[in-house]
């Protein structure tokens, strides 16, 4: 009975793969992957872009935050095959010859210690600054703390992360 089920699973395997094409950090990539592949797995295991970290794999910590079509999402809670035609930006794609102002600000303000959460913090930081700029709202320290609700850091106590994002916001 069990092996019959396994055989059935193998049988359907072929049509449980999808060829997905997306733009990652400005480059078009295509891969044939199982339909249940998470974007975090796609980035780390298929593309070897290991800057996107997986801290919890349960949508809580935000270490895996990347941008899809310009908006922050948790890549551990996104299916890769749903992103055919999408534009994805990871931490590897934010520097443009020089470090991004958000990266510089984390460096200048000692916004990281072990660095595990930092890729997600930077991607979330860029996203919130872009949104607040677009809507003309002021990104206060309070607002930054509220916006960081989905990003957990176990080292810094957040104070310098908030300072870093404020600093970068003034320069972006």
């Amino acid at each position: 009975m069990k092996s019959e089920k396994a055989a059935k699973r193998r049988e359907v395997r072929e049509d449980q793969m999808t060829n997905v094409t997306m733009t990652v950090n400005g480059k078009s990539v295509s891969r044939n992957v199982p339909d249940e592949t998470l974007l975090s797995e796609f980035l780390r295991e298929e593309l070897r872009l290991t800057g996107t970290h997986v801290g919890c794999d349960t949508s809580q910590c935000g270490a895996c935050t990347v941008h899809v079509n310009g908006k922050s999402v948790k890549s551990c809670t996104t299916l890769a095959v749903a992103l055919d035609g999408a534009e994805v930006t990871t931490i590897e794609g934010v520097a443009n010859g020089e470090l991004h102002p958000m990266q510089v600000a984390f460096n200048d303000n000692h916004g990281l210690q072990c660095g595990f959460c930092t890729p997600g913090m930077i991607m979330a930081g860029i996203d919130m600054v872009n949104r607040y700029k677009a809507s003309g709202q002021e990104l206060t320290a309070d607002a930054i703390r509220h916006e960081l609700e989905g990003n957990i850091c176990r080292c810094t106590g957040y104070h310098n992360i908030v300072k870093s994002i404020q600093d970068a916001a003034a320069k972006m």
Binding site: P34, D35, E36, G62, S72, L79, A124, E149
Partner: protein, 264 residues
């Protein structure tokens, strides 16, 4: 995660066909609940039918004082939509308080309502505003839609396509966050509507979201904080868990109702 087969239909008919063909197919919207459930092996759908590419499934329109919100409209879109802000600001504020920015960029109103988590925010708004849930085959009043923990009136393979909301004269939502999950420990949505005052409570009921008859009666007679404060809130039928006792939740219902009326 168990293997599954992904579909991205462009029409409702194709979506229904894919749902009917799979032996255990499920609708996928923002995935912010369903993908987590699959990772925990609490769900193993044979097929995922992504409804986000279906024409007309997302967006907000307003006509004759009635808001219509597509089922695949994200929390972030509802929170920032100008029509929502103008005609039902409380709903925009509620949507902007769900989870965190990344969750709001993906999670959808239809997904939240179909899931009917006993601590979710949207179900309280739907009940208090007297919303109508529109599916591929029928229209269901919110009062008949929410039927208990994670249980709704939806049939198997029925797809929510939109939600229709009559704009209230006044409304507000007050949420007391459970400090770890940030879901509602207790959330109270109050609305002054053509049908009188309507008050819905999430996070507290043993059977999920519910309307509070005593608060509704008091606020229909007198829409004021002091009227809400005079209502004795019973702990009968309320949840008790490690986060809060039923009595604590009962007290919070009164406090949140007052705060909501004050903010309306």
């Amino acid at each position: 995660m168990y293997s599954t087969r992904y579909h991205k239909p462009a029409t409702i008919d194709d979506a229904l066909a894919a749902l009917g063909a799979g032996d255990e197919a499920k609708v996928l919207a923002g995935g912010q609940t369903l993908l987590a459930t699959m990772k925990q092996h609490l769900a193993a759908p044979s097929d995922l039918v992504d409804i986000r590419a279906i024409d007309g499934m997302s967006g907000v329109t307003v006509q004759d004082n009635i808001l219509t919100i597509g089922a695949a409209t994200t929390h972030a879109e509802v929170a920032t939509n100008a029509d929502v802000r103008q005609h039902c600001g409380a709903l925009g504020q509620l949507a902007g308080g769900i989870g965190d920015p990344a969750v709001r960029h993906q999670g959808t109103i239809g997904g939240s309502i179909a899931n009917n988590d006993p601590a979710a925010d949207y179900p309280a708004a739907m009940l208090a505003l007297g919303a109508t849930i529109i599916t591929n085959s029928r229209e269901i009043a919110a009062d008949a839609f929410f039927q208990g923990l994670f249980t709704t009136a939806l049939d198997e393979n029925e797809i929510i396509t939109a939600i229709r909301i009559p704009c209230p004269a006044k409304a507000a939502y007050a949420k007391f966050n459970q400090p770890a999950s940030r879901f509602a420990l207790v959330g109270v949505f109050v609305a002054k509507t053509d049908m009188g005052a309507r008050v819905a409570v999430t996070g507290a009921g043993e059977d999920g979201v519910f309307r509070h008859a005593a608060l509704e009666a008091a606020l229909s007679a007198d829409w004021s904080e002091s009227a809400a404060a005079k209502v004795a809130i019973s702990a009968d039928g309320l949840m008790s868990d490690i986060h809060a006792s039923a009595a604590y939740r009962a007290n919070l219902i009164g406090v949140m109702a007052k705060r909501a009326v004050a903010a309306s």
